[in-house]
């Protein structure tokens, strides 16, 4: 077990050792690449002081709330587009534009409209994630086997129940795929917004460290971001495997 873990990750250990040696040798300036051990100490110190956890919670709150809003709005929009031709006609081109737009260009506009606190970040995250949710939900809802709908209807299933019992479960794998696209976007938007406009959070912490050339703090923040990204990814996979037990991958 330990042996296998070692073999599986030997390259990481090798790189970590190389990093430490190069950084200690004085070949590169300290601010350029501080030794891994110094970063680890900084990371633990910032974590113990509560700074990292506090800023991480701010970022996670913004990214996750925006993501949840986007999932709800996107699923509703996708279902609406699948069921109504009018909604489809109106939103299809708008979704196409929305999908290909780098929403980060709107950061200065969102600062103008909603300030630099939580609202502007949450709303921009939601706006950035909603399109892929709408598209995947739409594709999922369209993929429902017609025969399932017909047989449910002939047996007198009311429309509302049809949605809950057939359309949404059938669309679920697609919705999860949309979430897997949207979740990293939510983090990217939250971090960049914090870097560009301030207002706390891990992105702000990192950019401030960079501005003052406090490299160990910079790397500590970077590792915290990596951990948050990793945790988001794992969480979604776990939920997916629980919810989609019945669905073959």
């Amino acid at each position: 077990m330990i042996r296998r873990a070692f073999v599986a990750s030997y390259s990481l250990l090798l790189l970590a050792a190389a990093w430490e040696i190069v950084a200690r040798s004085g070949l590169v300036p300290f601010f350029f690449l501080p030794p891994l051990s110094v970063i680890a100490v900084t990371f633990v110190r910032d974590l113990a002081e509560g700074l990292l956890a506090q800023e991480a919670l701010v970022t996670i709150f913004r990214a996750f709330l925006g993501f949840v809003i986007a999932v709800i709005a996107g699923v509703l929009l996708g279902l609406g587009m699948a069921r109504s031709r009018l909604i489809h006609w109106f939103f299809d081109p708008i979704v196409a534009v929305g999908l290909s737009v780098p929403t980060l260009t709107l950061v200065p506009a969102f600062v103008l409209w909603f300030g630099i606190g939580h609202e502007s970040k949450i709303l921009l995250v939601a706006l950035s994630c909603v399109w892929s949710m709408a598209v995947s939900t739409y594709n999922g809802a369209r993929s429902v086997d017609r025969r399932l709908l017909w047989s449910a209807r002939t047996m007198g299933t009311p429309e509302g129940k049809l949605l809950w019992k057939i359309v949404i479960p059938a669309a679920m794998p697609y919705i999860f795929t949309g979430m897997q696209v949207a979740l990293p976007i939510s983090l990217i938007v939250a971090f960049v917004f914090e870097m560009a406009a301030g207002g706390g959070g891990l992105g702000f912490l990192e950019i401030m460290a960079a501005r003052f050339f406090k490299s160990p703090e910079l790397f500590a923040a970077l590792f915290a971001i990596l951990l948050v990204g990793f945790a988001f990814d794992r969480m979604l996979r776990l939920i997916r495997s629980r919810v989609l037990l019945w669905c073959e991958e």
Partner: protein, 258 residues
């Protein structure tokens, strides 16, 4: 489709966007939304025309495109080579696999401050982040593409005496090309996003910087005009890649469901 049917389809597709823009104009003109918050669409249009004609847009756009496409080109070259090596050489795979899985969930824009410290506020710093952000999608897709080349194809080519080099150019590369293309299509919008992030955070030129600068000065009609024009560029380049992919991979069946 006949020309007439195509025209009808185009008008019907553009109508909702026209409706949205008309609503924008109406609410700002009527004063429902203050022009301090959102300039009228017509004033944004005038500003956009000015940005295009005066060459300001072109100047900044060229810088942004240079950074985005330069970084993307690097990630394609390195990513394809690395993906091929990982798929065909066991020790390369065992070395890079943990690295790829470790770095995959990292939101790559978090590397912006790091490259700022390393390379300063330069084009190189921007290109480095774009490269790193686009690298993994290309690597992972190339890897899967090569892994999924049918063994039978390789066996039969070998049994017919195909040299290893020819095997690569005639069998493995064409068979994995749709996957590589898919990786590039994922990396392209990422490169735009990353360039904008870099330019919002640490740059003196580029579209992101232009938008941010107008925002800071409170010149909102020009800010929205710059946003609007860049959105247009991003949209057109996305459509262009889709078309290009269809043309390049005409012999390949579209994977179902997407």
């Amino acid at each position: 489709m006949t020309a007439r049917a195509r025209l009808v389809a185009a008008v019907s597709a553009l109508a909702p966007i026209a409706v949205a823009l008309a609503t924008w104009e109406a609410v700002t003109r009527a004063g429902v939304v203050s022009t301090q918050m959102l300039p009228t669409f017509s004033s944004v249009g005038t500003a956009a025309g000015d940005l295009v004609v005066s060459g300001v847009l072109g100047h900044h756009l060229l810088v942004s495109l240079y950074r985005a496409l330069g970084g993307l080109a690097l990630s394609i070259v390195v990513g394809v080579i690395l993906g091929f090596a990982m798929a065909t050489r066991r020790h390369v795979e065992s070395f890079f696999d943990p690295l790829v899985s470790l770095l995959y969930p990292l939101p790559k824009t978090a590397l912006v401050p790091l490259t700022m410290v390393w390379l300063g506020i330069t084009n190189q710093a921007a290109i480095l982040v774009v490269f790193l952000a686009g690298l993994l999608p290309v690597v992972v897709n190339t890897y899967h593409g090569v892994k999924r080349v049918e063994r039978v194809l390789i066996w039969s080519a070998r049994s017919l005496g195909t040299s290893e080099r020819r095997l690569f150019t005639r069998v493995v590369l064409p068979a994995s090309l749709p996957y590589i293309w898919n990786g590039i299509r994922i990396a392209l919008p990422i490169s735009f996003i990353v360039v904008i992030s870099v330019e919002l955070v640490a740059s003196r030129v580029g579209i992101g910087n232009l938008i941010n600068g107008y925002g800071g000065l409170g010149v909102y009609d020009y800010m929205f005009a710059a946003i609007f024009l860049f959105v247009l560029v991003a949209f057109v380049s996305d459509r262009f890649t889709v078309r290009l992919g269809r043309g390049l991979l005409r012999w390949h069946e579209e994977p179902s469901g997407r």
